[in-house]
Amino acid sequence: MTDSNAVDVRDLQKTYLDGLFGRRRIEALAGVTLDVGRGEIFGLLGPNGAGKTTLIKVLLGMVRATRGSASLLGRPAGNRLGRRQVGYLPENHRIPRHHTANSALAFFGSLSGLSRGEARRRSGSLLETVGLAQWGKTSIKKYSKGMLQRLGLALAMLHDPELLILDEPTDGVDPVGRSEMRTLLLNLKAAGKTIFINSHLLQEVELVCDRVAILDRGKMLRQGRIAELTAHAESEVRVVVAGAEDAARAAAADMPNCQMRLLGPNQFELLLHAPDQSAIDRGIDRLRQGSLSLISMSPSRQTLEEAFLGILKRARGEQ
């Protein structure tokens, strides 16, 4: 079991039937395939209605797949033993309002098979971890949305699961809380836990995720490491030089597809489009010939958001 992926999805389809007599068909997942290795932080991205939550619910057995297969920690999706090793933080979760944080942890701990003593023992440190140590005995009716989100995270982690599935975990959490949550997730990863994040906040995902997948209208558009998704198809090198403006303009004019931008007095940024290393070398030589001083040189990248929007745009354009 331990050799298997944490999440393994093959050609997963889910079609909802809607309307009178179920005559309207809504394809929430259209043949999705993905895998999440153990110990990694995986981000599932996609616009609203992409099928992200449906995919998670299929993994947890709340929704039955129409076709395809999915497994969680080596067990079929929805398997009760598999769920024992999963901690889930749903989007817009609702913890029964008659609880305090302590009683909620005791209740959900017992649902996960923990004894009351065990749940109580873990509660203290968990509330400390999520920043609710002072609020354990307070009715959750008095909690803010961010506090409820922190408590939800504590509930997901309570039984020390191997896999955490977090649906919009930073929803309603303030920037400090987000930072703390990032640290927490990285610590969990360091402890060998697998984390499956579903989020709209691409900056957050970019900061913590090892790999991501982009889903749109039930279809898998791309998946891979963030560096792979954000890298341009053609190598671009960003070069910052200092020297005479005429010399810089002349050098830029000699190089194909080179763009120049003034950064400051006698300081310029040149974006070199170079298909290979020799083209880069030639460009650098040309700059040196113009007596320009090389201040910095780095490969150019796009943000995850740019990459995400670009991928979506291309996918929808093709359709």
Partner: protein
């Protein structure tokens, strides 16, 4: 199991945190606190009620006579203590036509006042009266030393001794209902224990309203949000991600919801139990069994509410569905009963008479029909003339008809029930001859109090009554003339045939059942306490040949064949020999009282028809029950034999004919169904059958409280000597349990298949 126990425990937690629970508990506390001061004050018996004056006229006359006399006497003493207006009322008692009851009431009120006075009794006034021992004992203690209730008792005993024929004696104790120490003015001359059955009944009625209606309604409203909230998006996601099953989650939540009402029910019923025990001395631990029963009642409605909550996830819809369910149950039950009572039962065939080549049947209201093969329907015959029926003469019922093959005629008579009968006069034997197409005609007068009509050997006609056995002598069709005086018919002396008393000369209680041996002419009568076999001597006079007696009154039917006498009772049939020595007791299947017992002409097959519509057959030769396959069991209303076949009536007007040799059905007669019956049979009754009957659980509560599975006397009178009606104690439990299981299973299946 731990997760599910946690869910149940969490429901308790939710209930405890809920303000609604505390509000309900506070209301129950107020109710209980309000009841705590209620209790009995037991005191020496002295209370004089209007009903204690058993001979009013005589009492008034005695008081008047003694009052006018100068000689000291109790009446004289009473007269002295009466004020002028009461004296005048008493003096005018005989002349007053309408105000006598008021006079007695005023006299009793005055006497009650006198009984509390320490100078009511004066030895010289009671000089000629011997006081009872109880009064003498009190007297020896010194009347001036007696507390008020003992003094009143002494005075009452003295009054009873003075007017023993006119005033009912007072029991040693009386109880007074009190609130704190305030007497509520309801004095009952009984011991507290004698009031316990009444208290139990009052309790059942109170609980039926307080818990059965109001409590359940409040509970459904309060708990209606629990299931929808659990299955709300956000909540259910958290719960279903845990290693628990969906059905387990739902059922645990359902049980948890019941826990909410359990807290209230335990508190209310436990409190009532304590109050009854401490304040009234009625420690009825069976009352505590009402807790699970009312919890079960709630569970039925909550099951419906929960199913709606799972499907629609809306608390308001849940409540509305529970209320609609209650309303549907009520409407169905009421409509079903109404159609049965008003449209079906009057038409139900209760007598089948194979009359040669014709088949005659009579229904509950005494209408007689002949089966018409051509029209395949029942045609009315033997129709009463319009002037024979008084529109409100409900007390009448038709006895018979029986078929006299020799005369090719059917014979019957109308029995008058107890009470008012505006037509008055005597009852005539009714005769319908085949030759006259069964036209009804009047024959000889029936003996007074005739209960049944028996056709003996040689087609001799007998009638049984409380006065004995009567045999028809002469021409039964010889019509007697009578004169009509102010609507009362008085018969002139017999001119033709008549019923002659042929014994016995002893008074009998009104017989429940009578039967005649078709071969020997022996007659058996059963009156509940005695089973007697009569046999005729050479002159045809019937004498008591054997007798069996019973300590308690039984309800049953008798039959006699082949020298054996059969007595069918609830759940058993006893076989006696000719000397009425018990030979064996055979268990029958039914749980209600028998309505009739019939023997086949060859004496082999005995058929017992029970009041709940079950037909049980017995082989009188093999002495073992017959395993006949009879359709319509539970709805059978009549049975009759004809040669080697048996007719069984069910479904109101359907008659099925069986071949006794092999149980095969050889004919079926079903008349045209009126619209009301069609609606009942194909829509209303099937729906009613599958619907639960939560309202009937009150019968179970009554049984639990009283441990008596018959309707209590105060609630239902004896049904004409046929014994009290049995309560269906466990039926509602089973039917409701099945319904609850179906509802919960439906909810579980829905949840199992649902994508959340």
């Amino acid at each position: 199991m731990r997760p599910y126990l946690s869910i149940i425990r969490d429901s308790f937690h939710e209930a405890l945190v809920s303000r609604v629970l505390w509000i309900l508990l506070a209301i129950i506390t107020l109710i209980l606190l309000a009841l705590v001061p209620l209790g009995f004050i037991e005191e020496a018996g002295s209370y004089l009620a209007d009903e204690d004056i058993v001979d009013r006229r005589q009492l008034v006359r005695k008081i008047l006579a003694q009052g006018e006399s100068q000689e000291p006497s109790p009446g004289r003493r009473i007269w002295e203590l009466l004020d002028d207006s009461n004296r005048r009322l008493l003096s005018e008692y005989d002349d007053a036509s309408m105000g006598r009851r008021r006079t007695i009431h005023r006299l009793v009120e005055s006497l009650r006042d006198m009984l509390t006075q320490d100078d009511f009794y004066r030895a010289e006034d009671w000089a000629k009266v011997r006081l009872p021992k109880a009064a003498r004992d009190l007297q020896t203690q010194g009347l001036e030393n007696l507390p008020q209730d003992q003094l009143a008792r002494f005075n009452r005993l003295a009054l009873d001794a003075a007017f023993p024929e006119e005033i009912a004696p007072i029991p040693p104790t009386q109880v007074q209902l009190a609130y704190f120490h305030w007497e509520l003015g309801l004095t009952l001359p009984v011991k507290p224990e004698q009031l316990f059955p009444a208290i139990n009944q009052l309790l059942v009625a109170t609980l039926a309203i307080l818990l059965g209606v109001a409590g359940v309604f409040v509970a459904v409203i309060v708990t209606s949000s629990m299931i929808p909230q659990t299955f709300d998006a956000g909540s259910i996601d958290l719960l279903l991600s845990k290693p628990i099953t969906r059905a387990g989650l739902f059922l645990a939540k359902f049980v948890g919801g019941c826990a909410f009402i359990a807290i209230n029910a335990v508190y209310l019923i436990g409190g009532l139990w304590l109050i009854l025990g401490v304040r009234f001395g009625l420690w009825n631990e069976r009352l505590l069994l009402a807790v699970p029963l009312y919890l079960f009642l709630f569970a039925i409605y909550y099951g419906v509410s929960s199913l709606a909550g799972v499907v629609w996830r809306n608390a308001i819809v849940s409540v509305v569905m529970a209320v609609l369910f209650w309303f549907a149950c009520w409407v169905l039950g009421t409509a079903n009963d109404a159609v049965e009572q008003l449209a079906l039962n009057p038409r139900r065939i209760v007598t089948i008479v194979p009359a040669g080549k014709d088949l005659i049947a009579a229904n509950t209201v005494g209408e007689v029909f002949r089966w018409d093969e051509v029209d395949s329907d029942w045609q009315p015959v033997f129709v009463a003339r319009s002037n024979e029926r008084f529109p409100f003469d409900f007390g009448r019922s038709l006895v018979g008809p029986v078929y006299d093959p020799q005369g090719e005629r059917i014979l019957a008579f109308e029995r008058r029930g107890p009470g008012f009968s505006p037509l008055g006069g005597s009852t005539r034997l009714l005769v319908g001859k085949r030759a006259e197409d069964w036209r009804r005609d009047e024959g000889v007068n029936m003996p007074d109090g005739a209960m049944s009509l028996l056709l003996g050997p040689g087609d001799k006609l007998f009638a049984a009554s409380a006065q004995g056995i009567y045999r028809l002598e002469g021409d039964l069709e010889a019509r007697q003339e009578d004169i009509n005086i102010f609507g009362v018919r008085i018969p002139l002396p017999e001119q033709g045939g008549r019923f002659v008393n042929v014994g016995p000369d002893v008074q009998f209680r009104p017989p429940q059942s009578a039967a005649i041996d078709a071969d020997t002419g022996d007659i058996v009568l059963f009156d509940g306490f005695r089973l007697v076999r009569f046999e005729a001597d050479d002159e045809g006079t019937y004498r008591e040949a054997a007798e069996a007696t019973f300590d308690v009154k039984l309800t049953g039917e008798v039959a006699i064949t082949g020298g054996d006498v059969y007595l069918a009772l609830d759940g058993e049939v006893r076989r006696y020999d000719a000397e009425l020595a018990l030979v064996e007791t055979v268990e029958s299947v039914s749980r209600s009282n028998p309505g009739s017992m019939t023997v086949s002409p060859d004496g082999r097959v005995l058929a017992v028809l029970y009041r709940d519509g079950d037909l049980w057959t017995y082989d009188c030769r093999a002495h073992e029950p017959l395993a006949m396959s009879i359709t319509g069991q539970g709805d059978v209303s009549s049975v009759a034999f004809d040669g080697s076949t048996m007719y069984v009536a069910d479904r109101v007007t359907r008659i099925t004919q069986y071949e006794l040799a092999d149980d095969s059905v050889i004919g079926r007669r079903q008349g045209a169904l009126p619209l009301a019956e069609r609606i009942y049979r194909y829509a209303l009754h099937p729906l009613y059958t599958i619907f639960p009957k939560p309202g009937q659980l009150n019968e179970t509560v009554m049984y639990v409280l009283s441990s008596n599975d018959t309707q209590l006397g105060a609630l239902r009178l004896d049904d004409g000597g046929n014994g009290p009606q049995r309560l269906d104690v466990w039926g509602p439990i089973w039917s409701n349990l099945v319904f609850l299981a179906v509802v919960l299973a439906a909810a579980c299946v829905y949840i199992y298949r649902k994508d959340f």
